[in-house]
């Protein structure tokens, strides 16, 4: 069994002494994701695109509700029979990875797997202090949860003639709201 350090698996010149949030936002943008820090900016973006009906984790809604206007319809219970009704889904992320622009979800933190997957727009609420620098650090921090998922940008495919199309089975728009 070869002995090696996981530094080997860290991209060079990525983090340096830079702030993890800056790197995270930059890397997320490279995979066509969006990092925001202001809930008002999030609401403006949703309104602008007419994404007015969505699902929100009930534990997040009290803090977010004041930013949303009466033109929005937000449900805090998810009904799988109306999968196409939700234009957006807001759920908590347990963390993020700066190096790759990844958000980390797990069963304990994410209120509904489906709520984070089926809407066209997924908004993951990430705590700023929970951004890992790189993959080895994030692997070491997987924790005891039986289901952890790293999400790096919107769902995509290049199966048809190698042409990139976003929004295959999962979200076509991936937003991280860093708080």
């Amino acid at each position: 069994m070869p002995d090696y350090t996981t530094e080997l698996a860290v991209m060079r010149q990525m983090m340096g002494s830079r702030d993890a949030l800056v790197v995270f936002a930059e890397r997320l943008a490279l995979v066509n994701g969006i990092a925001l820090t202001d809930p008002a900016a999030l609401v403006a973006r949703l309104r602008e695109n007419k994404w007015l009906h969505g699902y929100c984790d009930p534990t997040l809604w009290p803090a977010l509700a004041p930013f949303f206007g009466a033109d929005f319809k937000v449900e805090t219970t998810y009904d799988r029979k109306r999968v196409d009704d939700y234009a957006f889904g807001i759920t908590r992320a347990v963390g993020a990875i700066a190096e790759t622009g990844t958000i980390v979800l797990n069963d304990a933190t994410t209120s509904r797997r489906l709520g984070a997957l089926t809407p066209w727009v997924h908004i993951a609420v990430v705590e700023r202090a929970r951004i890992f620098s790189d993959l080895p650090e994030a692997v070491a921090g997987l924790g005891p949860d039986t289901n952890v998922i790293w999400v790096t940008g919107p769902s995509k495919t290049a199966d048809v003639e190698g042409i990139l199309i976003e929004g295959v089975h999962g979200p076509g728009v991936q937003i991280a709201l860093v708080v």
């Binding site: 069994m1 070869p2 090696y4 996981t6 080997l8 698996a9 991209m11 060079r12 990525m14 995979v31 998810y78 799988r80 999968v83 196409d84 790759t100 990844t102 069963d107 304990a108 994410t110 209120s111 509904r112 797997r113 489906l114 997957l117 089926t118 790189d134 993959l135 080895p136 994030a138 692997v139 070491a140 997987l142 949860d145 039986t146 289901n147 952890v148 998922i149 790293w150 999400v151 790096t152 940008g153 919107p154 769902s155 995509k156 495919t157 290049a158 199966d159 048809v160 003639e161 190698g162 042409i163 199309i165 929004g167 295959v168 089975h169 999962g170 979200p171």
Partner: protein, 479 residues
């Protein structure tokens, strides 16, 4: 003249298909190289170490497999062992019947291609729907994937639009975005109706029992968010020793497979869903599948079991680019398939003994392999096996006369001397038109037979030359 099967297939390939495969694989290869060399000072070191880790696993499967089984059981997972493809399929069917399940949604897994699971389940009255866009298209077309990572690299958008139309997925429209949206709309309701979600696993950590699954489309996540029962079919060689090793392998897999830094979805599954989570499987099964792998392990080609199914060797291979995946008549095409497929045939090895010969041994596959598999060496070993088993080889030039001369020193020396006659032949009067045409534009070099032997004699006693490199056979002994 008859050719071996793979050559014949390549010769008859449609120009469209060849162009699609050539472009797709070339693009993939170029992006991969750029990414790796931009981001790592010494990317070769990564793949050498990854190769050593995986080789270690392959050689210690007997200790790792029981370790994984114990870990999975402790995590609440039901573990099954399947020696054959049939046993694996029966295990899946058994699980479905026990639950009264009739509908399965499937993520992409190569091992279920090996066992032809979807066909098997359909024959037994179950619905088994492929959800990866490429695999879905392959399924509705009754076709086979032609690439490990890009299953429909051989199809163009017009063919896809036509089959969507024929299958009631909307009027003809060949815009890739429309095609994707239609599949999204159709499949999301299928996930929600399904009883069982089937996936593979890219890695299984022996330390934690975590199954690691990488996808881009989100289909495997949908399978595991919508259904109540998760079945994972996993080849026994998929193990990595520790969670610690995962970062290294994930970095290499995404870059080698699709030239991404990380795939969109990387899932770590170590058991059924958490009790507080409303969505996801309450029951989880892992079926470890052998299907010929222990036979590969027992052979002198066991290095191929390191393979992490990235497809980089397909993309770079000049033969794959010209012949396309279907030429290999196997689940695994390209260089990895040329090694793995004949080995997995067991006694029927001769049926695919042509694959190892369809290679120029250029070594590009070895150079790009994220786990550093010496594919050209393995191809040579398989060629040797074919020779030892006297497998007929159509299309090989008749070498009998040459072999007779080359194996008898006296005859060989005589022929070298006698060959001088060529210098005096009136080549313009050659009786064979093709040779005459060749000679009309070129001049035949003067016969130099025997020169090497003369030179060798005169260099006796010169000791200050470096020794020749060890032969493959010697190098193998040294290992």
């Amino acid at each position: 003249m008859r050719f071996q099967q793979i050559d014949q297939f390549a010769a008859e390939l449609k120009a469209d298909t060849r162009a699609a495969v050539y472009d797709g694989s070339k693009k993939g290869h170029e992006k991969r190289t750029k990414l790796l060399f931009d981001e790592y000072a010494d990317p070769d070191r990564l793949r050498r170490i990854a190769g050593e880790v995986k080789q270690h696993v392959v050689e210690n499967l007997d200790t790792y497999l029981p370790q994984v089984e114990a870990k999975l059981k402790a995590n609440g997972v039901i573990v099954h062992w399947a020696a054959t493809a049939e046993a694996a399929n029966q295990a899946v069917l058994g699980i479905m019947r026990a639950r009264g399940a009739t509908k399965m949604v499937k993520a992409k897994t190569m091992v279920s291609e090996e066992t032809e699971l979807a066909h098997f389940l359909e024959k037994h009255g179950m619905e088994a729907l492929e959800t990866d866009l490429g695999e879905f298209i392959v399924q509705i077309d009754g076709d086979h994937p032609s690439h490990i990572v890009k299953p429909i690299i051989h199809k163009n958008r017009r063919e896809i639009a036509t089959s969507f139309e024929e299958n009631g997925l909307g009027a003809y429209n060949d815009d890739p975005q429309t095609i994707t949206r239609r599949a999204r709309h159709f499949l999301r309701h299928k996930y929600l109706e399904a009883d069982v979600g089937l996936t593979g696993a890219n890695f299984v950590s022996a330390e934690s029992g975590r199954l690691v699954l990488v996808t881009n489309e989100g289909n495997s996540r949908f399978c595991l968010a919508a259904t109540k029962c998760h079945i994972a079919m996993v080849g026994i060689e998929k193990i990595v020793p520790r969670d610690y090793d995962l970062a290294l392998f994930l970095n290499l897999l995404a870059r080698s497979g699709t030239a991404q830094e990380l795939t969109v979805y990387t899932e770590y599954i170590s058991g059924p869903k958490s009790p507080t989570q409303p969505d996801g499987p309450e029951e989880m099964h892992v079926i470890f599948v052998d299907n010929g792998r222990t036979e590969v392990l027992a052979s002198d080609c066991r290095d191929i079991l390191r393979c992490i199914r990235c497809g980089a060797c397909l993309n770079v291979c000049p033969v794959y680019r010209q012949a396309s995946g279907h030429a290999y008549r196997s689940v695994y095409p390209g260089p990895v398939g040329a090694v793995l497929s004949p080995l997995m045939m067991g006694d029927k090895f001769p049926q695919k003994a042509d694959l190892p010969k369809a290679s120029s041994l250029c070594g590009a596959c070895h150079e790009v392999c994220p786990v550093n598999i010496p594919i050209p060496d393995l191809l040579l070993r398989l060629r040797n096996r074919a020779k030892e088993e006297n497998v007929p080889s159509p299309g090989t030039p008749p070498m009998g006369a040459w072999a007779l001369l080359a194996s008898q020193p006296t005859a060989w020396r005589a022929s070298l001397f006698g060959g001088k006659i060529i210098n005096y032949l009136p080549t313009k009067l050659l009786p064979i038109p093709a040779l005459r045409a060749w000679e009309a534009k070129r001049s035949l070099p003067a016969w130099r037979g025997g020169e090497f032997r003369k030179w060798l004699k005169t260099r006796k006693g010169r000791a200050n030359v470096s020794p020749p490199a060890p032969s493959r056979a010697e190098a193998k002994k040294a290992d």
